[in-house]
Symmetry: C2
Subunit: 262 residues, 2 copies
DNA sequence: CGGGGATTTGACACATATCAAGAGCGGTGG
DNA sequence: CCACCGCTCTTGATATGTGTCAAATCCCCG
């Protein structure tokens, strides 16, 4: 099982980390410090000078492993910390009283989880690991404290909140005005771009979620998602093999956007 | 013209304000100070002790009048300030490259405009007055400064950002999973509740936007919006007379939500 | 009083949902 | 290693909600 192997690797990494700390090696090379984290450029320290980023190291006390299918937090849980995704993949699920639910986000390394709770002190959605994952726990109170002294932190935090708003915005646009074909094209292009920003391939990746989850996110039924994948494949835009996606013609995909009825 | 009359009243009020300041009267009674603003409870000072709220008075230098149809800021404009709505009504419009646009928000007094730009320094949507309005200009740099010293301000600001996120969330839910009837019911109930929070009637109000704008916001065509209004009226849930809305049966409206196919 | 945009309503088209059946794949246990 | 089981995915046939097109009416505003 591939996922298990991943966890083992992380566990090994962690043990190594602890060992290094114990023997007093150069702290700046520890992988669980913000200042040396590979995700620096997409996560909280982004845009900060390295001395400032170093101060963030005080922020992260704990890392938590979350196995596939496990809930990181649930709607209604008390809010105390934000979580920065260190590795893995998550989905957020909102629901309304009548029981209907919708996937409202997919989250990848470097992204911040828990932002929805800032206002209310109560989480508003369930957030669940789609594969074995690891998150850095960021105590919110501490983040607020540090914001006062670390130049650029508050700014970057606002940037992240705003990015969140902008992102949801794009989805509103998508849900409000786009046809099924366009929605799926946007979805793929968005994933592609986010993978690219994290140093992964932009043209070839594995979807961590089911067709049903994609459909829920895009406001479509899973059958429609499946049909659209088939159509894209028939048109030579992508190669789909189960959850393995290869983008063959990104330009063509972009061309789907804003195209009148097929 | 009613709108013009409103502006006149505001102009008069402003002149009065300036006069009072000039003669050194009790500053705390000036209507353009946060500490004495009638919207205190829904705007930035919400939840702050009055001494703290008083410090916000340093924040607002300027108020700007925006006439109906005028643009407060445009997508692409440089970002420098947030705007707190003092009176009036606004819509935000996002657009994608191909020219399609969607109304992504309606905004009423006490709400903050410009949040979308925090991350990028560039506004991402057009924000336009739906009636003659007035906004308090909040220089962002100053807000950041003050956040460091005024206890509770940063927290409240996060609360507002989060509320924004939560709101967009609800709309995603709406766009992603609801039928036309439910969308319009939610829309009306949401407006109703926001009016209530501001001291207006929850059951009787005037829509500031066209059917087309409502449709754009809800991901529906204007004809569909119109039909749903007619249906609600036929069912005795609301009384619709042009843009004048009277909610006759709020419980019935709520009952629309989560109801299976009509 | 006239004109133009907003709204309503009807007839029809179409995209997507729904229902249903079968195939593919991954994991499990013999 | 193979057979089986369950879940995910694909594909087809049909139903339906909403969009599209069109025309008439209404209302505000000049």
């Amino acid at each position: 099982m591939q996922a298990t192997a991943t966890v083992r690797a992380i566990e090994t990494g962690l043990r190594a980390t602890i060992a290094i700390r114990d023997i007093g090696s150069n702290v700046s090379r520890l992988p669980n410090l913000c200042s040396s984290c590979g995700l620096r450029e997409v996560c909280l320290p982004c845009g900060m000078r390295s001395e400032e980023a170093g101060k963030l190291d005080e922020l992260i006390y704990t890392r938590v492993r979350v196995k596939r299918g496990q809930v990181l937090y649930r709607a209604g849980d008390a809010f105390a910390s934000l979580y920065a995704i260190r590795s893995g993949f998550f989905k957020s699920v909102s629901s309304v009283e009548d029981g209907r639910e919708q996937v409202t986000g997919f989250h990848m390394p470097g992204e911040l989880l828990g932002i929805d709770a800032l206002g209310t002190d109560i989480h508003t959605r369930d957030t669940i690991a789609l594969e074995d994952s690891e998150v850095c726990v960021i105590p919110y109170a501490r983040l607020v404290e540090l914001s006062a002294s670390v130049e650029g932190l508050q700014r970057q935090f606002h940037r992240i909140l705003s990015r969140e708003i902008a992102g949801e915005h794009g989805i509103m646009m998508l849900l409000g005005t786009m046809r099924a074909e366009e929605r799926l094209a946007m979805f793929l292009l968005n994933l592609s771009q986010r993978f690219l920003a994290r140093g992964y391939s932009a043209t070839e990746f594995v979807l961590r979620m089911t067709r049903d989850e994609i459909g829920s996110y895009l406001g479509l039924k899973l059958e429609t998602v499946s049909r659209m994948f088939s159509r894209f494949q028939a048109e030579g835009l992508v190669e789909v093999s189960n959850r393995h996606i290869r983008i063959l013609d990104a330009t063509g995909l972009k061309g789907c956007l804003g195209r009148a009825t097929h």
